[in-house]
C-alpha cells in the first residue's frame, strides 16, 4: 500500500491524517445516531464516560483492548510483508482448540503460571498452523491469500463446532462448550492495578494477558525494526523485486510472516477463554479478528499506534455497552458501524483527504511540499 503522493511531515502522516480519518468516521456515525433519533454529542459523552468514567469501565476497556492488540498486531505483521491476512478470526478461533486441550489436560495438575505458557504455545502453534496452509498456497501455487484465508475462517468454524460437540464438551452436557476450567487454567486479574489509583471495581475480566499483549507489541516492534527477519519482511512488503535482488527467498518470507501473523492471531484467544469465560465456547472470538484490521489500519501498522487504536476500540466496545444501556435506541452494534467506517476512511479512503492536507501544508510553507505533490504526480 505505497502512496503515490509526496511527503508530509511525519507527524502529519502518522497523527494528523489518521485523526482526520477517525473524525470523519465519527461524523458519519453521528449521522446514524441522528437517524435513530438521538443526540450524537450526548451519545459521545456517554460513550467516553462509560469507557473511562469509572474503574469498572476502564477495566473492561482494557480487557477488550487486550484481544484487539493481538489481532491488530497479527494484521500488521502480515501487512509489513505485503500480505493481507484476513484470516485472523479463524486463526484465533482454531487456537481455542489448542487452549482447550491444554487447559482441560493440565488445569487440575498445574498452577496457572505453568498452564499459561503451555497454552500460549498451543494457541500460537494452532494459529500459525492455520496460517501456514494459505501462506504455502500463496507462495507455491499463487492462490490469492485473501480468498484462502477467508475460506479458512469458515473451515475453522466447522472444525471448532466438530471439536466442541465431538470431544471437548463434557459427555453429559448439551451445551457446545468445554467444562469450566479449574483454577489451574484461570488467569489472574489485573483489576487491582486500576484500584491502586483509587477506582473501585466490582468484577471485570481484565487479566494478565494484557501484559502478554503489551510484551507482544514490543516484540513485534523489535521483530519489524530490529531483526534481520523483519528487515527482510519489510523489503519484500515494499518491493518484491528489491527482495529478489537482495537474495530474499519469496517462499520463505511469505510463510514465515504468515505464521508469525497466525501465531499472534492465535494468542488473542487466550484473553476471552482463560481470562474471562474460563471455557472454550462456540464463537468465542466474535469478530475480534476482523477488528484487528481496523486497529492495524488505524494504528498505521506500528505497535504503538496499534496499542492506542486497540484501546480506542476497547473504549468503543465498553462505552458502546454503556451507551446501549443509557440510550435504548442505540444498540451495541453502533460499534460495528464505527469499526466499518474507520476501516473505510482510514483504509480504503486513506488518501481522500491527503491532497487537501498537502495543499494546506503547501500554502502554509510552500517549500516543505513540492507543488508536484498537490497534483499527485509524485510517482
Amino acid at each position: 500500500m505505497s502512496t503515490p503522493y509526496a511527503k508530509l511531515p511525519a507527524w502529519a502522516d502518522y497523527v494528523l491524517i489518521p485523526l482526520i480519518n477517525l473524525f470523519v468516521a465519527f461524523v458519519v456515525a453521528g449521522f446514524v445516531v441522528i437517524l435513530v433519533g438521538e443526540n450524537p454529542l450526548r451519545a459521545a459523552v456517554v460513550l467516553v464516560e462509560g469507557a473511562f468514567g469509572r474503574g469498572q469501565g476502564i477495566a473492561f476497556t482494557l480487557f477488550y483492548a487486550t484481544t484487539f492488540i493481538f489481532s491488530g498486531l497479527s494484521v500488521a505483521v502480515a501487512a509489513h510483508c505485503g500480505l493481507f491476512n484476513i484470516g485472523g478470526e479463524g486463526q484465533g478461533y482454531i487456537a481455542g482448540l489448542g487452549i482447550g486441550i491444554v487447559c482441560l489436560a493440565f488445569d487440575s495438575v498445574l498452577p496457572w503460571w505453568l498452564t499459561f505458557p503451555l497454552a500460549i504455545i498451543a494457541a500460537a502453534a494452532m494459529g500459525a498452523l492455520w496460517a501456514l496452509i494459505p501462506a504455502y498456497l500463496q507462495a507455491k501455487r499463487g492462490s490469492h491469500i485473501v480468498i484462502t484465508t477467508i475460506m479458512f475462517n469458515f473451515i475453522a468454524a466447522s472444525v471448532m463446532v466438530y471439536a466442541l460437540v465431538g470431544f471437548l464438551k463434557p459427555a453429559n452436557s448439551m451445551a457446545p462448550q468445554t467444562r469450566t476450567f479449574l483454577d489451574g487454567a484461570q488467569l489472574p486479574k489485573l483489576n487491582w492495578v486500576i484500584e491502586l489509583f483509587g477506582a473501585k471495581i466490582r468484577s471485570a475480566p481484565f487479566n494478565i494477558s494484557f501484559l502478554l499483549a503489551l510484551a507482544m507489541a514490543f516484540l513485534v516492534w523489535v521483530l519489524i525494526w530490529r531483526t534481520r527477519l523483519g528487515y527482510e519482511m519489510r523489503t519484500y512488503g515494499h518491493s518484491s523485486k528489491a527482495a529478489r535482488y537482495a537474495g530474499i527467498s519469496e517462499t520463505r518470507i511469505i510463510i514465515v510472516a504468515m505464521m508469525i501473523s497466525g501465531a499472534l492471531a492465535g494468542m488473542m484467544a487466550l484473553n476471552p477463554t482463560m481470562g474471562d469465560q474460563h471455557n472454550v465456547a462456540l464463537e468465542f472470538v466474535s469478530g475480534a479478528g476482523f477488528v484487528g484490521i481496523a486497529v492495524a489500519l488505524m494504528g498505521r501498522l506500528h505497535p504503538v499506534g496499534i496499542v492506542l487504536a486497540a484501546i480506542l476500540f476497547g473504549m468503543l466496545y465498553q462505552g458502546g455497552a454503556e451507551l446501549a444501556f443509557e440510550m435504548p435506541a442505540i444498540s451495541r452494534d453502533m460499534i460495528v458501524i464505527i469499526q466499518g467506517l474507520v476501516i473505510l476512511f482510514a483504509g480504503a479512503l486513506e488518501h481522500m483527504f491527503r491532497p487537501y492536507v498537502q495543499a494546506l501544508f503547501a500554502s502554509l510553507s510552500p517549500r516543505s511540499v513540492g507543488m508536484e505533490a498537490i497534483k499527485g504526480k509524485g510517482a
Binding site: 480468498i147 469458515f154 468454524a157 476482523f290 460495528v336 473505510l344 483504509g347
Partner: protein, 323 residues
C-alpha cells in the same frame, strides 16, 4: 417411494438454498468481470435483506420492499465504487468495511425502528413473495415420478426463485451478446485497452457495480421476504462468502455459477437432511464436514489441483493511466 420423496425434498430445498447464493454469485460476477474485487457481497445482501423487509412491513408491499432492497444495496455498491474506482483505494479493505457497516447498521436501525431485538416485524403474506403455483400442479401431484417433479421442484416457488434462475441466461446474454458485456469483460482484463478505445473505465466499472448492487439487493430480499418472514440479524450468515467461493469455482462464468451454487446448495440441503443419519458405505459423515465442503473445494481449486481458476487479469488493481 420413500427414497424418491426424500430425494425430491432434498432437491427442492437445494433450489431454495441455492437461490440467494446464485443471485449473490452473479452479482459478484458483474463486479469481478469488470475488474473490481468484491468481498462486500455479504454486506450488500444483508442491507438488501433489511431494507426489503423493513420497507415491506412499513408500506405493506412486497414490491416496494424489493425496490428498497435494490436501492439500498446499490447505494452500498456505489460506496465501494467511490472508494475503489474514484479514490483507487484497496478493494479488499473497502469490501471489509462495507460488511461491517452493513452488519452494524442493520441491527442498530432495526432495533431503533422496530424494537424487536434487531428483527423487523413478521411479514404478512401479502408483504412477502408467495409461491407461484403453476397450472395443473395440484392435479398432477398424483402422477408418479413426473408429478412430484413438476409440482414440487418446478412449480411452487416464489417469483424471485424464477428471477434468479432466469438471471443466469440473462447474465450470459449480457456478458457475451451485448456491447456493455463486451466492454465490461474488456475492462476487467485490460482497462488500458478500453481507455485507448475511448471508453471511460470508471463509468463502465460503476455500471458493473450497479448491476452487482441490483442482484445483491434481490438476494437480500429473497432471504428476508421469501425464505424468512422478516429480517433477522446476521441472516446472511456467510452466504456472501460462499457465493464468492462459488464464483471462483465457476471460473467467473454464469452457467457454471448456477451449477456451483446448486452444488453448494445441495451440500447444505444434504447436511440438513442427513443430520445424524449414517450413510451407506461411508458411515456417518460429520455435518460440519458437509458445511465446510464448499470452502475446502474452493481452496483446492484455488491451489490449482482441480483445473485452474484464472481470475480476470485486472482484478483488484485500481486503474492508473500509465505514463
Amino acid at each position: 417411494m420413500d427414497l424418491f420423496n426424500a430425494v425430491i425434498q432434498v432437491l427442492d430445498s437445494t433450489i431454495r438454498l441455492s437461490v440467494p447464493l446464485l443471485l449473490a454469485c452473479l452479482a459478484g460476477l458483474y463486479s469481478e468481470r469488470a475488474g473490481i474485487f468484491d468481498i462486500g457481497l455479504e454486506g450488500k445482501m444483508l442491507v438488501g435483506a433489511f431494507a426489503g423487509a423493513a420497507a415491506a412491513s412499513v408500506f405493506h408491499s412486497a414490491y416496494l420492499g424489493l425496490g428498497m432492497a435494490i436501492l439500498i444495496s446499490v447505494a452500498f455498491a456505489l460506496i465501494h465504487g467511490f472508494a475503489s474506482i474514484t479514490h483507487r483505494g484497496n478493494q479488499i479493505v473497502s469490501g471489509v468495511a462495507i460488511n461491517f457497516i452493513a452488519a452494524g447498521s442493520t441491527i442498530m436501525l432495526g432495533q431503533a425502528w422496530f424494537q424487536q431485538g434487531g428483527r423487523t416485524p413478521a411479514l404478512a403474506s401479502d408483504e412477502r413473495f408467495g409461491a407461484i403455483i403453476w397450472p395443473g400442479a395440484d392435479a398432477l401431484r398424483g402422477v408418479p415420478i413426473l408429478g412430484p417433479i413438476y409440482s414440487e421442484l418446478i412449480s411452487g416457488h416464489s417469483v424471485l426463485v424464477y428471477v434468479a434462475f432466469l438471471a443466469v441466461p440473462f447474465t450470459w446474454w449480457v456478458l457475451f451478446r451485448t456491447r456493455f458485456g463486451l466492454r465490461m469483460r474488456a475492462v476487467g482484463e485490460n482497462p488500458a485497452a478500453v481507455d485507448t478505445a475511448g471508453i471511460s473505465v470508471a463509468w463502465l466499472r460503476y455500471r458493473a457495480l450497479i448491476c452487482t448492487g441490483v442482484l445483491t439487493g434481490i438476494a437480500g430480499a429473497y432471504l428476508s421476504m421469501v425464505q424468512n418472514g422478516g429480517f433477522v440479524k446476521d441472516m446472511t450468515a456467510g452466504k456472501g462468502y460462499i457465493a464468492l467461493a462459488a464464483l471462483i469455482f465457476a471460473k467467473w462464468k454464469p452457467v457454471n455459477a448456477m451449477f456451483a451454487c446448486l452444488l453448494f446448495g445441495f451440500l447444505d440441503a444434504l447436511s440438513i437432511r442427513l443430520q445424524g443419519t449414517p450413510l451407506p458405505v461411508i458411515g456417518k459423515v460429520p455435518v460440519q464436514l458437509m458445511q465446510a465442503l464448499p470452502y475446502i473445494l474452493t481452496v483446492i481449486l484455488l491451489a490449482g489441483f482441480i483445473g485452474k481458476a484464472i481470475p480476470p487479469r485486472a482484478g483488484g488493481v485500481p486503474y492508473v493511466k500509465e505514463r
